[in-house]
Symmetry: C2
Subunit: 191 residues, 2 copies
DNA sequence: CCTAGCGTGTGATAAAGGTCACAGCGGATC
DNA sequence: GATCCGCTGTGACCTTTATCACACGCTAGG
């Protein structure tokens, strides 16, 4: 039980007793999804933030021309949801779906707030995770500001080498903000 | 005192008594800076997160070609620092400087953590602010993924109309990730 | 075994944006 | 009042990336 992936992630930031972890876990609901299954439809309320135990999820937006733009991937130990819809209780403008069969732990906003209130450490944990996420997004923005497509691709391969193996290159392209054709030409030059 | 800008911002999220606000304020150090003054040099430690009371600050990165890329502006009631260097106690890779004479309240990491510990509400406040910042950055990334320079400019003018009046267009261009020449041509077509 | 569909590569061409060079304007300084 | 400098606009040209079209290999399902 010490080795539960959620517990390991929390304990990188705050220490928990066995009892406390049991209490924490009671606030999550286990869910399983099939490959291609849509977890959150555009226009629906985002009832849960998902902690990915196994598998691979994706958050994307479909634009007016029918093209989709991938905002985030979620591999094992990542948290994934439409953050705005989840936290503001508004309708989702994004789509969450699964690129592989996926097991996840679903946390509702009510339970997140309850956990934060009743176990101070958990609010510290959420703050730290959110801060780290904020820093990561700042880096991604700086990458858009100062790097061309080739450099962004190279940056991604060194940052998440495992991801490149697991998702189609067309999706990597979508995440990087280039077309699949351009990415194909870039990665050829890269070897 | 009810109308202190910091208090107003906090009370949008959690309520404070007069005593509590005095306690909060004791953790901040007032600072004044002149236009063009550098508040945080590249390579220095980011000792403070700044709450801007009056004036206008900027966070940017200087790249290897000598071009600078503006990550964020900070007007009145915004928080501004090199988030990574501040939270990880590492050396800054970014520069914080002032575009106008500026009055700010400086909060050290130690005081931020002390406040979070001793006044639970303040940790809730920081979590909420960080979450909102995270959501805003996600939107900016989606804008990079799905919009061209013209749309990004238009988006910025509607999001922060006041900003356009206060900063040179060359800096707006830098924030948007285009050259000042391109922005100049775009904004002409926009009228 | 056949075939439909997905993922990928590649060529030709177009569009968006960058680079370089120069000019003008207006405020600040002495 | 002369001068300097930051800011902006604009023309000519070049680079990067998008678009469109087509081909090929692989694999899942009938």
């Amino acid at each position: 039980m010490k080795s539960h992936p959620l517990r390991r992630q929390i304990e990188e930031i705050v220490k928990l007793s066995d009892d406390e972890f049991v209490f924490v876990l009671e606030h999550f609901r286990p869910k399983t999804f099939k490959k291609h299954q849509i977890v959150l439809h555009e226009g629906d309320y985002a009832h849960f933030d998902y902690f990915v135990v196994e598998g691979l999820m994706r958050v994307s937006r479909l634009d007016l021309d029918g093209k989709d733009h991938i905002l985030q991937f979620g591999m094992e130990n990542w948290w994934i949801t439409d953050a705005e819809a989840f936290h503001r209780k508004s309708k989702s403008t994004l789509i969450v779906d699964c690129l592989e069969d996926t097991k996840a732990l679903a946390l509702s906003l009510e339970n997140k707030e309850k956990l934060s209130r009743e176990l101070f450490k958990m609010q510290s944990f959420f703050l730290k995770k959110t801060t780290n996420g904020y820093i990561a997004l700042q880096k991604r923005i700086l990458c858009f500001l100062s790097s061309n497509a080739h450099e962004r691709y190279h940056n991604l391969t060194t940052l998440y080498p495992g991801l490149i193996q697991r998702v189609p290159k067309s999706m990597i392209a979508s995440y990087l903000g280039v077309t699949r054709e351009t990415l194909s030409r870039l990665s050829k030059a890269d070897t």
